[in-house]
């Protein structure tokens, strides 16, 4: 990551936030808008961050993974489904169901990744095609099971989707309690502190994602495991010569990547909203890949890029909130279909490499032949 790249990321985020502040200020104080935008940005960037981390682990070890989208989708479905089954069939208490839901989502991600690993490492299928197989398989399986299990013949739920055990709760970070004292009782000051507090009050997966960013960075660049993983992605032959098991390292990293993608899937149906609909991932697995590329295959860089996409999604959400105060010359901002183009156009722009070239791992996408 270089400063040009971080500068671009900062600039885009400022522009996106600025747009909302400019339009929304007649309705709300700028600080409130900025903090709520930031809170939304961090929350909606969660699956992108985790997806990008998934990509980083796979590709650093030399396996291209465009199946992240499918892994997320399958994980979102099976996590949600297992939560419902635990809740309605086994009558477990909701917190247990939610916890198990996350567990099964992560597990699903890992299993899908195992399939991708088998295809690309053992069977040496072209990795782009292997990833596409994962994506199509996920769409088919989730679509079929979603309909069959809830509406099909002999469905235990009698043709309706039952209520889910709910979503993960927001964790309160006690900033107001700790720093509220500096206001000395002034109500407006306390309000501002509370607004800032809301940026930090996130749900568990969002918080875990940020911790995982730094943890992954440490693991990849400061541990023996990380060095070995990168070695098999850069020069597998050399790694093999010094006694590193290339196949094992690649399998392990792809499956770890799958676990991340599974957690990203859990975000959709267990943290964000307690429901599933076919194709709900909506391209975010692919946007994650763009974030990974723009972050130059580093966890922190990928996270920064994911925040840009998060901010552009936050823009879309906020434009709906401030719909009624959009000035006529900015009328196009009312159209959610047009504002919704932002992340896709950004992705394409970033991939042109105008903001500086990135270098993938040297053996990325190349099956290892002894």
């Amino acid at each position: 990551m270089d400063w040009k790249r971080f500068g671009f990321i900062g600039l885009v985020i400022v522009v996106l936030l600025g747009t909302v502040v400019m339009i929304g200020q007649v309705k709300q104080a700028p600080l409130l808008i900025i903090t709520s935008m930031l809170a939304t940005t961090i929350a909606v960037a969660t699956p992108l961050t985790l997806g990008a981390l998934s990509g980083v682990f796979c590709e650093r070890s030399g396996v291209v993974n465009i199946g992240i989208e499918g892994m997320m989708l399958a994980a979102a479905f099976f996590g949600w489904l297992s939560g419902i089954y635990m809740y309605h069939i086994f009558k477990l208490p909701p917190p247990v169901c939610i916890g198990l839901g996350v567990f099964f989502a992560v597990l699903t991600g890992g299993l899908m990744a195992l399939l991708h690993a088998a295809l690309s490492i053992t069977f040496k299928v072209d990795q782009i095609i292997g990833g596409t197989v994962i994506n199509i398989l996920a769409v088919g399986l989730t679509g079929f099971l979603n309909r069959q299990l809830f509406f099909g013949k002999g469905s235990v739920f009698g043709g309706t989707v039952p209520s889910s055990p709910g979503v993960l709760p927001t964790i309160h970070v006690p900033i107001t309690e700790l720093f509220g004292g500096i206001c000395g009782g002034a109500a407006s000051c306390l309000e501002n502190v509370q607004a800032v507090n809301r940026v930090f009050d996130q749900k568990p997966i969002a918080m875990t994602a940020i911790l995982l960013v730094f943890f992954s960075h440490y693991v990849l660049f400061n541990t023996r495991w990380g060095l070995r993983s990168r070695a098999v992605g850069e020069h597998p032959k050399a790694a093999d010569t010094v006694g590193i098991n290339v196949v094992m390292m690649r399998y392990a990293n792809v499956v770890i990547g799958g676990l991340f993608a599974g957690l990203a899937g859990a975000y959709f149906t267990i943290e964000s909203v307690p429901s599933f609909e076919p194709l709900l991932t909506n391209g975010r697995g692919f946007i994650s890949l763009a974030a990974m590329i723009f972050g130059n295959w580093t966890p922190i860089g990928a996270w920064a890029a994911a925040l840009v996409f998060g901010a552009s999604q936050a823009l879309l959400i906020n434009m709906q909130i401030f719909r009624d105060v959009i000035p006529p010359q900015w009328a196009f901002l009312q159209e959610s279909y047009i504002v919704g183009l932002t992340p896709y156009l950004l992705t394409m722009f970033i991939l042109t490499g105008v903001i500086g070239k990135t270098t993938p791992p040297a053996a990325d996408g190349v099956p290892y032949e002894k």
Binding site: D126, I129, T132, Q148, Y337, I338, L345, L351, G365
Partner: protein, 375 residues
């Protein structure tokens, strides 16, 4: 080990090469059908009844045949689009979006052009114009990605997917706005019906099969000719096999990449244009969901050969068409077909698995698409 049989007559050679090429796809389909049967058993259905329903629905009578051909028409175009790009070493996941923008332009020309001109057009002018402009729009949409690939190295896989979402958003915007059917009873996002003069006639009275189907078959022949008998086709295949060697041999690689995407997009655009002019007579939001991804499976199953694409299109069309009857008989959801198709794709793509199960020796031929990311 038995010695390989050699056939000397040209017809025998042709048959032998076809049966060799078709062996792995056939076994892949067989394996997928068996696993699909197990899945049906697991969810409590009867696999034999399901597959019988599928066959009846697809080929049970003249109407079923006609409907299968109707389904196969866009599959052939979109499958050829993906196959052509494969030949050029490019992975066009964007057939979905190219098809949608093609359909939007076709329907616009189909319903609005006479009004803009102020007089009615004869079918001989209006219909070709409608089809060609839709086709060109698809080509334009894909060539953006081709140009990005050629000049910046931006990977076509991510860019075509992004273009899919851009197409979806733009189409939703247009179909909910300026292009929406304004008739008072309409509540869904769709265009008005296109003029009679922009419609493909049906082949047989009373059946929906239309001349667009014949056009699809002719296009497959044309693409085979283009790829195998022209300089452009040779250049496309050379760039696909080895861009460095192609450059060394004097092929303009950048131009070829853009042309390949343009042609591929034009085929996908045709799929959309033909659906509008031959079948639906309008564009409706969400009608094309999944064509783009099915097209990938079709191209892989057909080994990117035009004849293979036509056959694979028929298989997928038969499954889609028969699925309704299967659902009627067994109450299994239509989505089961998507699982079957994904399994077929899995075994076709990972032919190593099929070769392993059935102990078939590898020919060592392999597509390479993973060639690094842009940026």
């Amino acid at each position: 080990m038995q010695p390989e049989k050699q056939s000397n007559s040209p017809a025998g050679k042709f048959l032998q090469s076809v049966s060799e090429a078709a062996l792995v796809p056939f076994l892949a389909i067989l394996t997928a059908v068996i696993i699909g049967g197990v899945i049906i058993l697991v969810v409590g259905g009867n696999p034999f009844a399901a597959y019988m329903g599928l066959l009846q629905g697809a080929f049970g009578n003249a109407k079923a045949w006609s409907e299968t051909a109707v389904w196969a028409t866009p599959y052939i175009f979109a499958g050829l689009a993906v196959a052509l790009a494969f030949k050029g070493g490019l992975f066009n996941i964007g057939a979905e979006g190219q098809l949608a923008v093609g359909a939007v332009v076709s329907s616009l020309i189909g319903y609005a052009l006479p009004g803009w001109l102020g007089f009615d057009l004869p079918a001989i002018v209006h219909l070709p114009l409608t089809v060609i402009l839709g086709m060109l729009m698809g080509g334009f949409w894909a060539s953006i990605v081709g140009a990005l690939k050629a000049y910046t190295g931006g990977h076509e896989v991510i860019n075509t997917i992004m273009m899919n979402y851009i197409a979806l958003n733009t189409t939703s915007y247009l179909l909910n706005g300026v292009m929406k059917d304004k008739s008072p009873t309409n509540v869904i996002a769709r265009t008005p019906l296109i003029e009679e003069s922009a419609r493909f006639p049906v082949i047989f009275e009373g059946l929906r099969i239309h001349w667009g189907f014949v056009l699809a078959l002719l296009t497959a022949v044309f693409i085979w000719w283009l790829l195998n008998k022209t300089t452009l086709g040779f250049e496309i295949r050379t760039v696909g096999l080895n861009p460095d060697a192609a450059k060394y041999a004097g092929v303009n690689v950048k131009r070829t990449i853009i042309l390949t995407m343009l042609l591929s997009g034009m085929l996908a655009g045709l799929a959309g244009a033909i659906e509008v002019t031959g079948l639906n007579y309008r564009h409706e939001l969400g009608f094309s969901i999944g064509y783009g991804f099915d097209a990938i499976a079709i191209a892989l199953l057909g080994k990117s050969h035009p004849l293979g694409v036509v056959l694979a299109s028929f298989l997928f069309a038969a499954m889609r068409n028969g699925a309704t009857r299967m659902q009627f008989i067994t109450q299994l959801p239509v989505d089961l077909i998507s699982v079957l198709q994904a399994l077929i794709l899995l075994f076709v793509a990972a032919d190593a698995i099929v070769r392993y199960i059935y102990r078939i020796k590898s020919k060592g031929e392999r597509v390479t698409l993973t060639r690094g990311w842009g940026g």
